[in-house]
Structures are given as structure tokens and as C-alpha cells.
Amino acid sequence: MKSLELKLQSPKQTQLLGMHLGKLATQGDVFLLVGELGTGKTCLVQGIVHGLGIKQYAFSPTFIIIREYHGRLPLYHIDLYRLDNIEEIADLGLDEEPYTKGICAIEWADKGLNILPEQHLLIQLSYNPDIDTERTAYVMSKGKRYEELVTQLKVILSKENSWN
């Protein structure tokens, strides 16, 4: 397991982190997003969408649960917010095609951790109690592919001044 902790000073910086992830993403990648209402999960996905070369706004998929985007790779933006029951999440079949052929970014993933893919990149977003606009992102890899991803991410971020 490799991990990384980042201070995100603005929604823009959250999007920038997402954009790097979108650029690094390869087929079958699973990004699990965890965090309170308003910590920037959808904002991060907007960055992933951008990084995949998709010229669209990723808006909240809460209403339809799964929203599809087509860029360099298909992106499935999934929101478990309304699903409180583990069978309902299993019924989505996220471990099957077409989802495994693209990239899955799953919001409120903590609701289904037991049944979501074991190998994944987990991004936990949290509020900073002192600064309203600041968030902390805790990035954690499970599996070799994602350890590699964290290493690549570290290299990229070390070249940019905005990351401390």
C-alpha cells in the first residue's frame, strides 16, 4: 500500500488533482471517492473528466446513479449517495462489463467498500475545520497498479510548485 496526503487549497486545486488522475488513468481503473457532503467529490471527478479529454461538465449523477462520459476512455461516474443497502449496490454490477472496460469514479464508495473492487485507488476528502475553502485529500492505493499510479502522481506533483 502506498499513500499520499495533500492539502487542497481551493476547488481548482481539487480539480487539478483529478485532472492528473484522468491523464494517468488506464482501462479498468477504479477510483473510490469518500468524504462528507461538499468536500469536493464531484469537483474531483470534473478534473478526471477534463484529464480524459472530455469536453463536458461532469455534474452530479445523484439523480440517475450512473452517468457515462466518452473521452480517451469511457468514464462511468457513479454515485452511491441514494443507495443505503448493500444488495442495491451489488445489483449495479460494477465488476462487470461495460464498467471494467472503462474507468469508474465512485462517489460515496464507503457505502459499498466490501463489494467494490478490492484493487483500487481510494481518495478520502475531508474538511479543514479552520479554513472553509481548504480540503485534505488522503490518497491510498490497494494493488500493484495503483501503487504505480501513486508513484507516478508523486513525480508529477513534485514538479509543480502549488503542492506542498
Binding site: Y57, S60, E68, R82, L83, D91
Partner: protein, 330 residues
């Protein structure tokens, strides 16, 4: 001309018979709110199973109440998107089945367009063109220019949460229950909007954003100890509602002025929100029209009304009509 409308896009199973796109002969809505309120939202598999159970009795009742049989119908209009894929499938497949069996024309309807056509029901005189349409619901926040029947230009939409979704999430933050729109409106009615919450104006665009105000509400309840006092919850609800309504009304009216439209049309569940209606009626330079509350929320009469105007234009669907969960109006 009589059209049977069917809508299963979200958590209501609905069937209706509408004459000439304007007169409601029946409008049956079987709501699943009781089932879903336990979960604080819609559960997709529960929703599609419920649609399967209720669709036949609901369609039968719509024909009985309209006092007509299959032979008196001239077409079947059904929502094919946007919505929950599993739920949409129930309505679309049912409609295809009866269209095939009866030989009646099948008309696939965009649910968003349906919300606009709710304004053609039981109204005298009918809406005029060009109109600016604001569709606000749990899944949508769209500003659309309508130049004529079927002639739409999508001007703006939400960049994050839909307005109704923001109400639902705010209600959850304030522990006010589901559905959030009516819950916030009721709590707000005894409060004053004394808390400052941000408005995302997104100047120079017709887009909206409601995730910032939701986040600000979250910060507010953690800083001000809101939840242990019903009076403070009411004030927080009023402040939240005020922020959302102000942005919706101001941006819509501004766009209407710029475009020089003859009318503003509201639709969708949030259009039932009274402070939104009053604010728009107060500030608009052109007439504002909106459906009665029962026709703001999802219903099949609006789908049938829209179907009538599609048939008039010769726009029917083939039997390979498929659901499009993320359908837009472009």
C-alpha cells in the same frame, strides 16, 4: 385526438389520457415516496420492481377514469429519458408491447420536454412563443429557449447539483426528511433568512451551481449549533431556500430580458416552490406561467400532452426505441 401517456422515469409510476394535448381525461400517479423516504432517496432496484408491479393497474385505471378503451386512443407516448435506466425500461417496454399489439403509433418523449408541456394542460390561453423555460427538479436545472413546438435551444444547466437535489441534500443536513423540497419550504415558512449563504452567479453564462451553498450550509450547522434548536433550523432552511430561489429567479429573469421572450415557463418539482413563484412573479417583466403543483412533479399527463404535439408534427418512434438515461434536450 386522445393520447395515452406513460412515465416511469423515476419514483412514480404514472399513466394518463389527454385529449388534444390540453384536456386531462385521467392522470394516475402511483408514488413510491413512502417506500423511498425510509432510505432518504430513491433506490433504483426497488424503484424498477415497484414500476413492474404497478404499471398494469395504473394504465388500466387511467383508461377507466377516462372512460375509454384501446380503440379510442390515437397514440402511446412514453418517457425514454432522462431518468433511472431500470425504471425507464419498464415504461418503454410496456409501451412498445401495447403499441405492437394495438397498432397504435409509439412516441418516445424526453422527460424534460414533458415538464415544459405540463404548461399546455388545462390552460386558456395556451403558452406563446418564444418562451424561456426554467426546468427545476430533483434531477434537472435547465434554462431552455423554446421558439416553437419541438424547437429548443439549451441555454444553461447546473454544473454540479440540480436545484431539487440541493433541496434534498440540505434537508438531509438539517434532518428534515425526504422529499427535501417541501420539507425545506415548510420549515422555512416559520424562519427568517438571517444567515448569510453564498450565491454562485456564474456571470456571463446561463449556468447554475448549487454545491457551494450546500457546502456553506454544512459549515453553518457545524459552527452555529443549528440542529438543537427548531427555530434555528427554520432560519437555516429559510436562508438556504432564499439563496437558491434568488439565483434561479434573478438569472432566469435576466436571460428573459436579454432574449426578449414573450413569456417565462416554469416546470419540474421545484416549480411548486411558492417563494420561487412569488419572487419571479414580482420581478419579471413578462408573464410567468407554471403548472398547478400536481403537474409540476412527475406525471404522465405532461408526457401525453407532449406526445400530441409530436404526432401533429409526424414525429413518431420505431419499435427499437431504447432508453437513454442521460438524455438531454440538445
Amino acid at each position: 385526438m386522445k393520447i395515452l401517456g406513460i412515465d416511469t422515469s423515476c419514483d412514480e409510476t404514472s399513466a394518463a389520457v389527454v385529449a388534444d394535448g390540453t384536456r386531462i381525461l385521467s392522470n394516475i400517479v402511483a408514488s413510491q415516496i413512502d417506500i423511498h423516504s425510509r432510505y432518504g432517496g430513491i433506490v433504483p432496484e426497488v424503484a424498477s420492481r415497484q414500476h413492474l408491479l404497478t404499471i398494469i393497474p395504473v394504465v388500466k385505471r387511467s383508461l377507466e377514469e377516462a372512460n375509454i378503451g384501446w380503440n379510442n386512443l390515437n397514440g402511446i407516448a412514453v418517457t425514454f429519458g432522462p431518468g433511472l435506466a431500470g425504471s425507464l425500461l419498464v415504461g418503454v417496454n410496456f409501451a412498445k408491447g401495447i403499441a405492437l399489439a394495438s397498432g397504435l403509433p409509439l412516441i418516445g418523449i424526453n422527460h424534460l420536454e414533458g415538464h415544459i408541456y405540463a404548461n399546455w394542460l388545462e390552460r386558456e390561453p395556451l403558452p406563446v412563443f418564444p418562451s424561456l423555460c426554467l426546468i427545476v427538479s430533483g434531477g434537472h436545472t435547465n434554462l431552455i429557449l423554446m421558439r416553437g413546438h419541438g424547437e429548443f435551444e439549451h441555454l444553461g444547466r447546473t454544473r454540479d447539483d440540480a436545484a431539487g437535489e440541493a433541496f434534498d441534500k440540505a434537508a438531509r443536513i438539517l434532518h428534515l426528511g425526504y422529499p427535501g423540497g417541501p420539507a425545506i419550504e415548510e420549515a422555512a415558512s416559520s424562519g427568517t433568512p438571517r444567515f448569510t449563504l453564498p450565491r454562485a452567479w456564474l456571470k456571463g453564462t446561463n449556468d447554475f451551481s448549487f454545491s457551494g451553498v450546500k457546502t456553506a450550509l454544512w459549515h453553518l450547522i457545524h459552527k452555529e449549533e443549528i440542529l438543537n434548536s427548531p427555530a434555528r433550523v427554520a432560519d437555516a432552511a429559510a436562508s438556504f431556500q432564499n439563496a437558491v430561489v434568488e439565483v434561479l429567479a434573478t438569472k432566469t429573469i435576466e436571460a428573459a430580458r436579454k432574449l426578449g421572450v414573450r413569456q417565462i415557463i416554469l416546470g419540474g418539482g421545484v416549480a411548486a416552490n411558492k417563494p420561487l413563484r412569488y419572487r419571479m412573479l414580482d420581478a419579471s417583466p413578462v408573464p410567468i406561467i407554471f403548472p398547478p403543483s400536481v403537474l409540476c412533479t412527475d406525471n404522465a399527463a405532461m408526457i401525453a400532452a407532449c406526445g400530441y404535439y409530436k404526432i401533429q408534427q409526424g414525429l413518431t418512434s420505431d419499435y427499437d426505441l431504447d432508453v437513454v438515461s442521460g438524455l438531454s434536450l440538445d
